[in-house]
Amino acid sequence: MINDKDNSSIPINEFQIGLRNFKRNRLAVICVVILFVLYGIAVFADFLSPYSYRNENRNYSYSPPTAIHIAHDNKLSWPFIYGTQLTFNDFHKREYVVNKSQRYPIQLFIKGEEYKLLGIISCQYHLFGVQEPGRLYLLGADSRGRDLFSRILYGSRISLSIGLIGVFISFTIGLIVGGISGYYGGRIDDFLMRLCEMFMMVPGFYLLLAFRAAVPDNFNSVQIYFAIVIILSFLGWASLARIIRGMCLSLKEREYVLAAKTFGLLDIRIITTHVLPHTLSYSIAAIMLSIPGYILGESALSLIGLGIQDPYASWGNLLSDGMSIVRIYFAPWILWPAFFIFLTVICFNVIGDALRDCLDPLLKSEGKE
């Protein structure tokens, strides 16, 4: 399959073959880059965003995206914005009148609200912004005049991390249950598989609602966040466990497992070091393809008001503004979060598919099914 001429780069193991195949898929590589950028944005959200997620100014309710000008009096100038003023027209519709006498240049590394960079370093500088009383709304404002762009950046922290943490938890459960079930077989296998099927039988969203009902109302936002992550991972582990179990069933018949048994290794040792690692190549692709489920699950919950609560921002929670048609009509920019959800989901899908394709030969050699 590989016919590179220089011998120095002959891959040593299966994963390097897989990685090489993956790199050939240009679209997938682009998606990896996009995801890195998105996660980078999530980490440095407070530095990159001009305002904090709760910085509101009700004089700018549903202010449209601010136009950035680069020409003043027909002369090229440093990018700046004009001040705007909220007025109501004859039909009491909001109209923002541009006041050309007020000019606010966009400043880089501007001093603004204080925040903790990476959670530790106290910092006041934002990548860009304008001097007060000017307000910079790159993607428009929400009902309370909070900057949507900033809120999307802050929201990415919740929306993107929920996928990673969720998949980590459900994957751990799936590996343990699938490993035990496949390795021991018999009654344990029967019981665990019935348990899995029980979770798979009920439509996921119903189960999600039922689990959500058990979360006390007096939880604060951090607690709700973790409750949602745990609920979502509780829905996802079953299908994974079933597949891992299927692979373990055939893996445990291998000679090296028998050898390990004759050496008198503990079962737990055999499962963790000799059986489960061989399911890894499948698992990586499965992880990538299941992350969108968590992101969409959180969005759906937040969308119907059962997820992350205001003032905290998540993409689903931001989008819940768009549940009203009137608001979409007067402020179409509130739909921007959907674009970010879409971008993230499509990236994970493309990467997952590419991984599955390029790890496929490995899967076959490892006796899937």
Partner: protein, 323 residues
């Protein structure tokens, strides 16, 4: 065959009860029950509440309540909805029917579009059309269904072609049968499209893969060597083998369809099981929640069973009894 069906259903019953137990515990885990809500209502006397408590055994230990519910279930009683003030069966049956309409419409649309599209893409593999289809599949697969619904609702509000949510027009009762049907289809359009777009993309991809695999088989080569027209090769020989794996998928798809339908129902205010579930969960209407969960499970079982039976009919190699 009949024996097989009985066996399948018998295995599922303890699992259904397990789901009910899980739901029950989840609902009781959180503080408060529905009676706490009506306790705040000064119009309802203490005696009534005490009566309710006795009636639904809410003063007894939890496990007793659950057993009581299961025993009632055997008698065909699903319990009483506190929120709607009627027996659960009354609400759930027509809500279930509505969800079924939506799921069926979406299912029909998905299969009618995805299968031909998948075949077409496979036959024209790696040509421009195939690439275009694959590109759009990725896009639609990643478009969250709730967003599609929101956009469609907005579009409908601007053009006025389709009604905004709900299931019937206000004057539904006055229409004749044909008009009622048209009215229903109009209301169905948006939720169905929102629900189907992602599934079409997913199913199309699977169909294309299966078809490509079938087209690579030796018997296709034989068929072509015999000089069969290409049409016959594709539709007689390749298609019939490519479509079988999809039938197994059908049963599992059904559960996913219901799950997706729940969210769409809520957004499009379609009076189905999913939106009922949301109301029930919010108002801690415990028996309604448990019954809805059971219904979800039952639909899944029925879907899977139908798929298995259908598969046995379509593929003569499959015999369930001879194991």
């Amino acid at each position: 065959m009949l024996k097989y069906i009985f066996k399948r259903v018998a295995i599922m019953i303890p699992m259904l009860l397990g789901i009910a137990l899980l739901t029950f515990m989840l609902m009781r885990l959180s503080p408060g029950n529905y009676l706490d809500t009506i306790r705040l209502d000064p119009q309802i006397s203490k005696e009534t509440i005490a009566y309710y408590e006795r009636l639904f055994q809410l003063d007894k230990p939890l496990i007793y309540q659950y057993v009581h519910w299961v025993l009632n279930l055997l008698r065909g009683e699903f319990g009483y909805s506190f929120y709607y003030n009627v027996p659960v069966v009354q609400i759930i049956s027509w809500r279930l029917f509505n969800t079924f309409i939506l799921a069926f419409a979406s299912f029909l649309m998905t299969w009618l579009i995805a299968i031909p599209l998948g075949i077409w893409a496979a036959v024209n593999r790696n040509r421009k059309t195939d690439q275009a289809i694959q590109f759009f599949s990725y896009v639609f697969l990643s478009w969250p269904s709730f967003f599609v619904a929101m956009i469609l609702l907005f579009w409908a509000s601007q053009t006025g072609i389709l009604p905004l949510g709900g299931m019937h027009s206000p004057n539904y009762e006055n229409l004749n049968l044909w008009q009622q049907f048209v009215d229903l289809v109009k209301h169905l359009a948006i939720p169905t499209i929102a629900l189907s777009i992602g599934s079409i993309a997913a199913l199309q991809k699977i169909m294309r893969g299966n078809m490509l695999e079938a087209l690579g088989q030796k018997y296709i080569l034989t068929a072509r060597a015999k000089g069969l027209p290409e049409n016959k090769v594709i539709y007689r020989h390749a298609l019939r083998n490519a479509i079988n794996p999809l039938i197994t998928l059908l049963g599992y798809e059904f559960s996913g369809l219901l799950s997706g339908a729940a969210l769409i129902e809520i957004i499009c205010s379609w009076p189905g099981l999913g939106s009922l579930m949301l109301t029930a969960v919010r108002s801690k209407d415990i028996y309604l929640v448990m019954a809805s969960m059971m219904m979800g499970g039952i639909l899944f079982i029925v879907g899977n069973l139908l798929a298995d039976i259908f598969l046995a009919k379509a593929d003569p190699r499959i015999r369930y009894d001879k194991r």
